[in-house]
Structures are given as structure tokens and as C-alpha cells.
Amino acid sequence: MHELPVMQSIFTTVLKHAVMHNVKKVHAINLLVGKLSDLEAEWMQRYFDYLSDGTVAAGARLNIEWVPAVLSCEVCHTRLEIDKANLDGITCPACTHKKFKLVSGREYHIRNMEAE
């Protein structure tokens, strides 16, 4: 839903590093994105293509590594991976407690880019 401002941020960061490293062409950008984010890969790529048109980043492929959403039980600290589409009635498999801390799933990170 908010892919455009997010892609604008990625695009600006990529261009900044492209200038710093005297890049002629960006081939791929490797991202780490948490599974709890509401970003859709297809729309990320489309908006990126729209923003990067006519620049050194035009045509670059976005490789997204999705980071699993992981909870930690408040009582016994058992960790469990959850599915965003199935959040109802989650209980700790070890102690049956129902309150958790979010350990991962909110990542929003640009790792590196493949460029020449």
C-alpha cells in the first residue's frame, strides 16, 4: 500500500551509493524485509522500475529475502515462527502461555547491490 515512498527511500539510498562507488549500472539490489511488513514484491519492483527509469539503476532486479516473523514467549522464552495469515489463538508450544514478544519480522534493510 505504501510501496511508493518505501521505494523512493530505497532508490535514493541506492543512487547515493552508486555515486560514491562510481557505478555505471546497477544490476541487482539485495533487500531484507520482515514478513510482518505489508509490502508486495511485485509492486515494489514496479514502483522501483518507475522511479529508476533513465538512471544507472534502471532495470535493476530487487532480490528480497523475507525474514520470518518470530515470537518469544513472555514466560519460558520459547521461540516460535508465526504465519501472518494465521495469528489467532497462538499459544506457546512449551508452556501454553499466550503472551509474546516480537523477535523478528519487522526488518527493513538494504544489504548490498550488484553493480558495475
Binding site: 500500500m1 505504501h2 539510498t13 524485509v33 495469528l87 544489504r111 548490498n112 558495475e116
Partner: protein, 230 residues
């Protein structure tokens, strides 16, 4: 000439620039002792009504200002300004959320250093505002009873980043199959420490509890600021 593909390390947060602006805004607010509250909900949950009730209840004790975000209208800011409280409309120009630099501009448009409390009425949306740090000291959200008790399952991020949840329009409880206990359970899965307050902006029920929570947080914040300054 061979073309060599290089791997260039970037290692930056995607919304890192916004986070930097948000952090510097928080530092500035701490310096002035101004409590900034970011209020979020879906459209029609009662953000403007809650702000009006809050002003009514708290204006004797606190100097309040309001930043109204709207994609393209000024209706809400006009309603707030009619109460005599400084209010400014921030048009997001099509964007579905506010970011920290928009908030900073909005604050500059009101005489914010003389205020104790500034409330941001974010764009009505449970998705995008959850991703963008506004620089607020606390995040609040409203869920209204007619929206249903299943919303924490559909918008987990929003429910996980907020400090307080107002369950509004409780006057509709008898007319719906909304189960308060189920809601609490679903909220607690991802955010065990969230404060949950039941309100009805129509009848005024729960507004005293909400105002007490907010006044308490403002006092804690102001005390932290003065301890920090010494």
C-alpha cells in the same frame, strides 16, 4: 574491456532517513518538554471526536495543539480550530501516512514551543502509518466496535507498535457480536504491555480514564526531561 560486476555493501535501513528526522524531532521535543502523541485508526473510528473530547477534558490543565493530516481536505482542522485550540492541516498530497519531516513542518506552523501536548491526527489507515515513525513520544490507536474484534489479526504491525489502544463506540456493543475478551486476547499475543481503554466519544464513557492515562504519561515525560536536564 571486461565489465566487472561488484558487490557494493550498503547496510542501511530502508526508512533510515525518516528515522533520523524522527529521532532529532524527539530530542527537540524533549528539550522543550512537549509531549507529541500520534493518534492512528481506520477512517471513521473516531479520531476527531476523541480529540474534541480530549481538548474538552484537558484544556484547563494543558496547553494543547493539533496537527491534522488529511490526504486532501481541511474539514477536520476547521472543526478543531473552532474550539479555539491551535490546529494546522497537513495535506499529505495523496500519501497514505505522515512522516517525520511532514510533522516537523506542521509543528513549525503552530507556535509549538508554548504547548504541553500536541496531538497528531494521522491519516485514517491501519497499514502505512505503522511503518513511518512520526517522531511522537507515544503512539495511540483507536479501534471502534463496529470494525470488529478481528482487526489485530489483519493489522498486526499497527497493534504491535502502539502504546495504548482505545476501543471506541462502546455504545454499539449491544448491537454487535464484538467480544471484548477476544479482542484483549488477540492484542496481547503481539503486544502484552499495551494499555487498553474502552471509550464512547458519543456518551463520554471512558474519556476520564483516557485523559488520566494521557495526563500521567505527560507528567512522566516532563519529569524525565527535567531529570535529564540537570
Amino acid at each position: 574491456m571486461t565489465r566487472e560486476i561488484r558487490l557494493i555493501e550498503i547496510r542501511e535501513e530502508i526508512l533510515g532517513d525518516n528515522k533520523k528526522v524522527a529521532d532529532s524531532l524527539r530530542t527537540k521535543l524533549k528539550g522543550h518538554g512537549i509531549f507529541l502523541l500520534n493518534l492512528m485508526s481506520s477512517p471513521g473510528a473516531g479520531k476527531t471526536s476523541l480529540i474534541l473530547r480530549t481538548i474538552e477534558q484537558m484544556k484547563a490543565e494543558f496547553r494543547i495543539g493539533v496537527l491534522e493530516a488529511d490526504i486532501d481536505s481541511t474539514v477536520d482542522a476547521e472543526i478543531i480550530a473552532a474550539t479555539g485550540i491551535p490546529a494546522v492541516q497537513i495535506r499529505t498530497g495523496g500519501f497514505c501516512h505522515l512522516d517525520a519531516s511532514m510533522v516537523m513542518k506542521g509543528l513549525d506552523a503552530i507556535d509549538f514551543p508554548i504547548l504541553d501536548l500536541v496531538i497528531i491526527e494521522n491519516v485514517g489507515n491501519l497499514v502505512c502509518p505503522a511503518e513511518f515513525d512520526t517522531g511522537a513520544i507515544k503512539n495511540a490507536m483507536i479501534l471502534s466496535v463496529p470494525e470488529g474484534d478481528d482487526k489485530p489479526l489483519k493489522y498486526p504491525l499497527m497493534f504491535s507498535i502502539c502504546d495504548v489502544l482505545l476501543v471506541n463506540k462502546t455504545d454499539y456493543l449491544g448491537l454487535s457480536d464484538f467480544r471484548m475478551e477476544t479482542l484483549h486476547e488477540r492484542v496481547r499475543t503481539l503486544n502484552p504491555r499495551m494499555t487498553i481503554i474502552e471509550t464512547s466519544c458519543k456518551t463520554g464513557a471512558g474519556i476520564d480514564m483516557w485523559s488520566a492515562w494521557l495526563a500521567g504519561e505527560i507528567k512522566i515525560f516532563k519529569n524525565q526531561g527535567s531529570v535529564h536536564d540537570e
